[in-house]
């Protein structure tokens, strides 16, 4: 077991929170000091999270860098952290995205920049805590806690309907998660421990499993979000400032998917198997129907928000198609199951990068012309050639062009779906067409074509800050597209174990 002499995970969780509080203390009079301090802490956290990689053992599914101490003995709650192959990539993604968000806010946020940056740093710590938590209440603590900074971010720096959007966002997520809390407490009394690993081995009857599964489903389906509880997302995205949209799309949605992997599949395998039809149906609705909804949006942010829902449909499809694959006697060695689960994970990471890139690009345009309407733009490439080129890469990745990260995950999930059922795979593959339609059509109307708006002809191309920000994303998206193996190796052992857990009946 690799080990550090100091509690790395605690540092990754609490350092950003502490830094956030300090940034808040800078006050509004020293915005530059606050910016630099925030950037340095975020980079430091990113380095810390990357420092875990060399000593991460790829050959075990066991939790690594584990920390465990009594927290609230009266309630049976332990401060229990650890990472495995599915949480580590998400932690690194979080740390990376936060750095990007801080850079993106640099001179754009002029109103109370210290509070803005503090909110994102605090949020980073909470999201890392959610991914690293091995105690169910610790997980809930961070899962729910991150609503506070996000609520403030959308509410203060958001658009005209920000109050409606942020309250809707908060209440939706809160309503979803409280049922999970009851389910967790129930399992505590059933098994005598809040440890997630312990809960995964807890024998449960079918009725209990179904109820617990539904409680988890409400929590995670709202977070991902799945159709029909997705309506908060377009509102929140449209009103949120760029940074808020990026974090929402890149990380918060992933927490829903992560929840399914960490809780639903291992804790309630029989209920997951029983209700897989429902999950697959909801995923397909998200992929196809929401794809069509995206097609008709006139607001760029709304379009990308709907595209996010559609792409996250692939994640849930990959997670729950495994029961159909396993049910087919041809797939005895379960390689299809692993393919589906790994495809979902890759899709999550890749969507984290792509959606962040899309929202940042929209932010770049919005900072210049203060409009998110597609009809405002047209012919942007004439004045912003570099920007146009980068957006083209992001759009292609969003479509799932081979060579970009978007291709890998979608292809793996579709391939796995073929092993289960041709028509499911067919429906899922439709998205390649619909996705291409709405993404490329938007790019065509915004980037290419005639300059219809005089303001567009005065646009300035990317400055150095924006170029670095978007360039790093271009690099990662293409890197992951041509060489996804390091990521797959990272999660291999864990996914193997997870597949086994999900396919072993608890009855």
């Amino acid at each position: 077991m690799p080990n550090f002499s100091w509690p790395m995970l605690s540092l990754i969780v609490w350092l950003p929170i502490l830094a956030g509080v300090l940034v808040m203390a800078f006050g509004s009079r020293r915005p530059n000091a606050a910016r630099w301090f925030a950037l340095i802490s975020a980079v430091l956290v990113l380095l810390l999270s990357l420092a875990l990689l060399p000593s991460f053992d790829l050959h075990t599914y066991a939790m690594q860098f584990v920390e465990r101490a009594a927290w609230i003995p009266q309630f049976g709650i332990h401060y229990h952290l650890g990472v495995d192959g599915i949480s580590l990539p998400l932690i690194i993604l979080t740390a990376f995205t936060t750095v990007i968000v801080i850079i993106s806010a640099w001179e754009v946020i002029q109103e109370k920049p210290h509070q803005y940056l503090a909110a994102f740093l605090i949020m980073e710590g909470m999201m890392n805590g959610t991914f690293a938590a091995l105690d169910a209440i610790v997980f809930y603590f961070f899962f729910e806690g991150m609503l506070i900074p996000m609520f403030v971010v959308i509410g203060i720096w958001g658009g005209p309907r920000r109050v409606y959007a942020t309250i809707k966002f908060f209440l939706y997520t809160f309503l979803g998660s409280v049922f999970m809390l009851i389910a967790l407490i129930y399992m505590y009394f059933k098994g005598g421990s809040f440890s997630i690993l312990h809960m995964q081995q807890l024998p449960l009857t079918m009725t209990e499993q179904v109820l617990i599964f539904l409680a988890f489903l409400i929590a995670f389906a709202v977070k991902i979000p799945m159709w029909p509880v997705h309506t908060w997302l377009p509102d929140a995205h449209v009103e949120a400032p760029t940074g808020g949209s990026v974090i929402l799309a890149a990380i918060m949605l992933k927490i829903g998917g992560y929840g399914f992997l960490r809780f639903s599949l291992p804790i309630t395998p029989d209920a997951s198997s029983l209700l897989d039809g429902l999950m697959i149906a909801l995923s397909l609705v998200a992929i196809v129907y929401i794809g069509f909804v995206a097609l008709v949006q006139g607001d760029m942010k709304k379009l990308v928000a709907y595209s996010s829902i559609s792409h996250m449909g692939f994640v849930t499809l990959g997670l729950f198609i495994i029961f159909l694959i396993a049910a087919d006697p041809i797939n005895m060695n379960h390689s299809g199951v692993r393919l589906a689960l790994e495809g979902s994970m890759v899709q999550m990471i890749s969507h984290g990068l792509i959606s962040a890139a899309m929202f940042l690009s929209i932010g770049v345009l919005y900072d210049r012309l203060h409009s998110r309407e597609i009809s405002t733009y047209g012919g942007v490439v004439n004045t912003m050639p570099w920007f146009g080129a980068m957006v083209m890469v992001f759009a292609m990745a969003n479509v799932g062009l081979p060579g970009t990260s978007g291709f890998v995950g979608e292809f793996m999930v579709i391939l796995a779906a073929f092993k289960a059922n041709f028509w499911i795979a067919f429906a899922a593959a439709l998205t390649l067409i619909i996705g291409a339609a709405y993404t490329l059509w938007m790019v065509k109307r915004v980037i290419f074509g005639e300059v219809v708006n005089a303001a567009v002809s005065t646009l300035k191309d990317l400055n150095a800050r924006e170029a670095w920000m978007l360039g790093s994303l271009v690099f990662l998206i293409i890197l992951m597209g041509v060489w996804p193996n390091p990521l797959l190796d990272l999660m291999h052992a864990t996914i193997e174990h997870l597949a086994q857990q999900a396919l072993t009946s608890k009855l």
Binding site: I72, Q74, F75, E144, G145, G155, T166, L181, Y186
Partner: protein, 471 residues
């Protein structure tokens, strides 16, 4: 001496009453300082007298146990904060009178008696001493119509509740064959099936006991009284008496009628559900911040009931934990009104909160913590309080009740969020910096620190409340 704190306090009440006529009209600094000094002395005396055993005195009428020790310490600390917060407000409104301090301390005496009572008469005595002081305090601003009306309402309804309690006690006295001591009653009711008379006694006693907590449907007095009373008095009414009322409830139901749990549990379930639902729904419709907090109180005491009705040690300690958390939160919540109030202006409306973040970022942050704590969001004390009571009810198999409770708390989250919206998302009407006394801002910052500190590391308080019930 087991009742030394009570004796000291009774003496000091007399002293403060006597010196008052000799103080100059302009200020009551001496009464204020003496009151605070008394609380410090009481704190020290109680801490020195603490012990994990149950100590009976006066023939078993007075009981001192870990629960009463912890509750008394909380009462002193709570009252001290109330006095510090209220001082400037009272001065500005010309009601900084000796009576305020005298009544506050005699009310405290009543609460202390209530907390340590092991005898029906003593319970009644403590309850009346506490209640009468509070009625009089409500009418402190005697030429204010609203306050007088509130005091009148409070008195009439409070007297009715006392009457009900007394009637229930008399029935209990008769049925158990002439017992007044709670320990004797516990023995008498544990043998034999419960008769109709006993059931009736239970109903009346429960009503009398939960009236002071403000549990629905006995909450009607709460909004009018809290709104009508001067905010400094509201601060008093809304905080520490809840601790004493919880003590009374636990003494009567658990120590006295623990054997009749099948009879009182359903009543508490119904009233708890009513409280949580009604408090949270009606609070949404309020435009007055003070009234909103009042209805939020109704919902919080509903959650406290969840812990009591679980009927386990974990449940009682959860109820106490929730109550202490509530006291801190409502101290901060009502304290915010004092922060924003100026001479000749009461900042009781939600609109008065607009743009506080621009006027005082620190106080706005404290406000945010308090509101999210009341809503039960993690990183704050309120989350652990809710978790504790939910864990208690799920632990006794009442999972459906826990589900009901969390649904109402989601409904309730809305109005807390709206309050945060006024503070953070709206432009201020009045851009001037908040210039309340440093003492007010200091106490509010302390409540914020407690809410956040215990929100991160609550095991200090959970340990104390568990010890209070022998855990």
């Amino acid at each position: 001496m087991p009742v030394l704190p009570e004796v000291i306090l009774a003496g000091m009440v007399c002293v403060i009453l006597l010196i008052d006529p000799f103080l100059p009209k302009s200020g009551r600094t001496l009464s204020y300082v003496l009151s605070l000094a008394t609380l410090v002395v009481l704190f020290a005396v109680t801490v020195f007298g603490m012990s994990p055993e149950v100590r009976l005195s006066f023939g078993g009428m007075v009981v001192n146990d870990p629960m009463s020790d912890l509750m008394k310490l909380a009462l002193y600390a709570g009252l001290a904060l109330v006095l510090i917060l209220s001082r400037g407000y009272l001065k500005d409104r010309g009601i900084d009178q000796g009576e305020y301090y005298m009544l506050a301390l005699s009310g405290l005496l009543g609460m202390m008696i209530l907390v340590s009572a092991n005898h029906l008469l003593l319970i009644y005595l403590g309850l009346e001493l506490m209640s009468l002081s509070m009625y009089a305090m409500t009418a402190l601003k005697r030429d204010d119509g609203r306050a007088s009306e509130a005091a009148m309402k409070y008195f009439v309804l409070g007297a009715l509740a006392s009457g009900l309690l007394l009637y229930g006690m008399s029935l209990l006295y008769g049925v158990t064959g002439g017992h007044l001591m709670l320990t004797d009653i516990a023995q008498a009711v544990s043998t034999g099936p419960s008769s109709l008379a006993l059931k009736t006694a239970v109903v009346f006693i429960v009503i009398g006991a939960i009236f002071k907590l403000g549990v629905a449907p006995f909450h009607m007095w709460l909004p009018d009284v809290y709104e009508g009373a001067p905010t400094a008095v509201t601060l008093y009414l809304a905080t520490i008496p809840k601790i004493a009322a919880l003590a009374m409830l636990l003494r009567l139901l658990v120590d006295g009628m623990g054997g009749l749990m099948v009879d009182w549990q359903p009543i508490l379930i119904v009233t708890a559900m009513l409280s949580m639902a009604l408090g949270n729904v009606v609070a949404i419709a309020q435009i007055s911040f003070k009234r909103m907090l009042t209805y939020s109180t109704v919902s919080h005491v509903g959650f406290v009931m969840l812990g009591v009705l679980a009927g386990t040690e974990a449940g009682y300690s959860a109820a106490l934990f929730y109550t202490l958390a509530y006291v801190v939160m409502s101290l901060g919540g009502f304290g915010m009104i004092l922060l924003l109030a100026r001479q000749g202006y009461e900042a009781e409306q939600l609109d008065d909160l607009r743009g506080l973040n621009d006027r005082s970022p620190v106080m706005a942050f404290v406000f945010l913590l308090l509101m999210f704590s009341m809503a039960g969001i993690p990183f704050t004390l309120g989350f652990w309080a809710k978790l504790a009571v939910l864990q208690a009810v799920v632990g006794v198999g009442l999972t459906w009740l826990a589900v009901f409770a969390v649904i109402t708390s989601v409904i309730g989250a809305f109005y807390y969020l709206r309050a945060v919206k006024f503070v953070y998302f709206d432009e201020p009407i009045d851009r001037s910096a908040v210039n309340s006394a440093w003492s007010v801002r200091g106490v509010l910052a302390v409540t914020g620190l407690i809410v956040l500190g215990l929100g991160l590391y609550p095991s200090w308080l959970t340990g104390l409340t568990a010890q209070a019930f022998g855990g």
